[in-house]
């Protein structure tokens, strides 16, 4: 935008909602906070209707706090829990239809490139395991095959949480869920390998136990998508309701999974690797022309 549209017209400060004034004065627009400063600045998303103890809610909080350019970011979501929180943020959000995120993002990103060839406009899909790997599978894969330049973040709670706890393609094998009354018959889909095979230039798998690492992963995925092609993050965001994880054990569960099937994994193409070496070694972390 971006910033000139975020800022309040002189003289109108007293008439804007306090919440908005705080966003502009003490928020992330035009600034680059470290994730460890969380709690000291006005966040892009604060209120949300997620369940108590929801790890996805925590992930989305860190996600918004990690956006490299929130004033020029558009988030796209679909049916599921995540969009209940995504739609509350001070970042434009599109809710289309079931599983259509990566098709909508393809059209949107291309349109923005046509209209604003010289501006950075980050398009980020944040959708669940059902949205990306079941109902939207074809559109997810094809956006990667086409090398569309946006980021896809899968918040994997291993279940259709919002519709009442049905099996998804990402549920672990053997787990008994609704619509899988005898237990799931097949393994979790290997989304990370699919993303690599389909042409993503940056791929990560993460259990969000370490906010600093999580923030860096999100920033990298978004910045790499600007210049090189599709990027993908597979994040474990447990459903404490359907998997009966006591609220105080949610982080412990994430650490356990991190030791098993959600060990931190990061892969990037050589171009992306070279690029990050260049920008992350320069002191301001400023982007360079590719």
């Amino acid at each position: 935008m971006g910033l000139e549209y975020v800022r309040i017209t002189t003289g109108f400060e007293d008439y804007m909602p306090k919440d908005y004034v705080d966003l502009v004065k003490y928020g992330q627009f035009g600034k680059d906070y470290d994730i460890q400063e969380l709690g000291t600045f006005k966040e892009l998303v604060e209120e949300h209707p997620m369940c108590a103890g929801c790890f996805m809610a925590y992930f989305i909080r860190v996600f918004y706090a990690s956006l490299p350019k929130p004033e020029d970011t558009i988030v796209i979501g679909t049916a599921g829990c995540a969009r209940l929180q995504l739609s509350q943020a001070a970042v434009p959000f599109i809710y289309g239809n079931y599983g259509d995120t990566n098709a909508v993002a393809s059209g949107l990103k291309r349109a923005l490139e046509i209209r604003f060839p010289d501006k950075v406009k980050d398009v980020v899909v944040v959708a669940g395991d059902g949205g990306l790997m079941d109902i939207g599978f074809g559109m997810t894969m094809h956006s990667w095959f086409r090398r569309e330049r946006f980021t896809t973040i899968m918040v994997d709670n291993e279940v259709y949480g919002n519709t009442g706890g049905q099996e998804s393609g990402m549920s672990p094998k053997g787990v008994q869920l609704k619509m899988a009354p005898k237990g799931k018959k097949f393994d979790k889909i290997n989304a990370v390998e699919l993303a690599k095979a389909a042409g993503c230039v940056y791929v990560a798998r993460i259990s969000p136990t370490n906010p600093k690492r999580l923030a860096k992963t999100i920033k990298r995925a978004i910045i790499a998508a600007r210049h090189f092609g599709p990027t993908f993050i597979h994040a474990y965001t447990s459903c404490n309701i359907e998997y009966s994880i006591p609220t105080e054990k949610v982080l412990e569960d994430a650490r356990n999974r991190e030791k098993k099937d959600f060990t931190f994994y990061e892969w990037m193409s050589d171009d992306v690797k070279n690029y990050f070496e260049q920008i992350e070694s320069n002191k301001e972390g400023q982007e360079v022309k590719v």
Binding site: M1, G2, Y5, V6, Y20, L23, V24, F29, E71, D72, T73, I74, I76, R83, L84, S87, A90, V91, P92, F93, I94, Y95, G96, N97, Y98, D100, A103, V104, A105, S106, G107, L108, K109, R110, A111, L112, I114, R115, F116, K121, G138, M139, M141, H142, R146
Partner: protein, 389 residues
């Protein structure tokens, strides 16, 4: 490609000089796209539509469009159309029969998302059994989506309706998609005379800020924008928000009528308004109905034509007025369910005057003789017909 200059919409549609060409319906639709200043088109193959999007792809290759790609399937194509339209560019896509049904969830959401896209519908049988032949049953599925639906009789209509569709869709008080339907093969793959506007003139570009809802481009204040928040809370405000949004969408579709008058000369065309019997038809069936009216004149029968150009918004008032003194109404159609007959019956009093048929489907042609038979029955004309075996 020739250098194109932007001209005023009204000038291009209503006054610009025209040159006659002998082209197919698919070419006519592509010629309209060439002059419509379209930014982006997204294609997915299905017969008989594919020809249209091949030609549009060629236009992109020549530089008339800024972006074009072949999508993964129709749901993906139409969802990407929604994304691109929200990003502020002018978009076009086209489909046929089963492709329309595959993408219908996306299409049905376009009006609610306020997507001023133009959709070509080149009609085809809906399976099963598999067939690629013309049959316009799919239009019936489109009627409750909230989109404007125009039905072209021939190649000329296909050109005119498609070009006008962009002007109608992007009106601030409309801002819903416009579907332009015509019969597959009968129109798309057959040639007819089309009076084309000059190749070096095009519509003004889309202005995404002249709109009832903002584009999603982060170029307008404030930072906190929710154009269409999901409203699924179980409380009265949520019900109300959804209810008024639907009312607004359908009101927008209705408001398209004045632009249909302006750019297409109205939603219906009438021949012989004082007729005793009317044939009411849309699309290709209107061409056969026109022929039946000519036959009737030669035979001294007082028969008129009502060609329905706009199926949505449906011209209830206009049709009721024309048919008020009709003794009988014949409605020939290229589908088995007779969706046009149902629309007309719902719009007029004493609807037992309506003969629902003749209907052909599965790709059959519609012989004028079948329409004449219904006219004879209404007028009590006895005809000897020799059957040649």
């Amino acid at each position: 490609m020739p250098e194109q200059k932007v001209v005023d919409t009204d000038y291009l549609l209503l006054e610009a000089p025209r040159e006659r060409k002998f082209i197919t319906g698919a070419q006519a639709m592509a010629e309209a796209i060439k002059r419509a200043n379209v930014d982006m088109a997204i294609a997915y193959p299905i017969t008989p539509q594919s020809e249209v999007m091949h030609l549009v792809g060629d236009l992109w290759a020549q530089g008339y469009l800024k972006d074009y790609y072949r999508a993964e399937e129709e749901y993906g194509a139409f969802s990407a159309i929604a994304g691109a339209a929200r990003g502020g560019v002018r978009v076009f896509t086209a489909t046929s029969g089963p492709g329309l049904l595959r993408g219908l969830e996306a299409i049905a959401s376009w009006p609610g998302h306020r997507i001023p896209a133009v959709l070509g519908v080149l009609t085809r049988v809906v399976n099963a059994p598999l067939s690629i032949q013309p049959d316009n049953i799919e239009i019936s599925y489109l009627l409750n989506c909230g989109a404007v639906v125009l039905h072209a009789e021939n190649q000329q209509d296909t050109f005119d309706f498609t070009l006008a569709a962009f002007a109608i869709a992007e009106q601030v008080d409309v801002y819903v998609p416009v579907a332009v339907a015509t019969e597959g093969f009968f129109v798309t793959h057959a040639k007819g005379y089309v009076d084309l506007t000059p190749e070096d003139m095009k519509l003004p570009p889309r202005n995404p800020y002249k709109a009832p809802v903002p584009p999603t481009d982060n170029e307008i204040p404030p930072a906190r924008i929710q154009r269409d928040a999901p409203v699924q809370k179980s409380n009265f405000m949520s019900y109300l928000i959804h209810a008024v949004w639907q009312q607004e969408v359908w009101a927008s579709t209705t408001r398209a009528m004045k632009y249909i008058y302006k750019y297409l000369g109205g939603p219906i065309e009438v021949i012989n308004p004082d007729a005793e019997v009317f044939v009411v038809a849309s699309g290709c069936a209107a061409a056969q109905a026109r022929e039946a009216v000519r036959y009737s004149q030669l035979e001294g029968l007082n028969v008129g034509l009502v060609k329905v150009k706009a199926i949505r918004p449906f011209p209830e008032k206009e049709i009721r007025e024309v048919l008020k003194n009709a003794k009988g109404i014949v409605i020939p159609e290229h589908n088995i369910t007779g969706w046009l007959a149902k629309e007309v019956k719902a719009a007029i009093p004493n609807n037992d005057r309506v003969v629902g048929g003749p209907r052909v489907y599965g790709g059959m042609t519609l012989p004028t003789e079948l329409i004449m038979d219904e006219i004879y029955k209404i007028l009590g004309v006895k005809k000897e017909r020799k059957v040649l075996v």
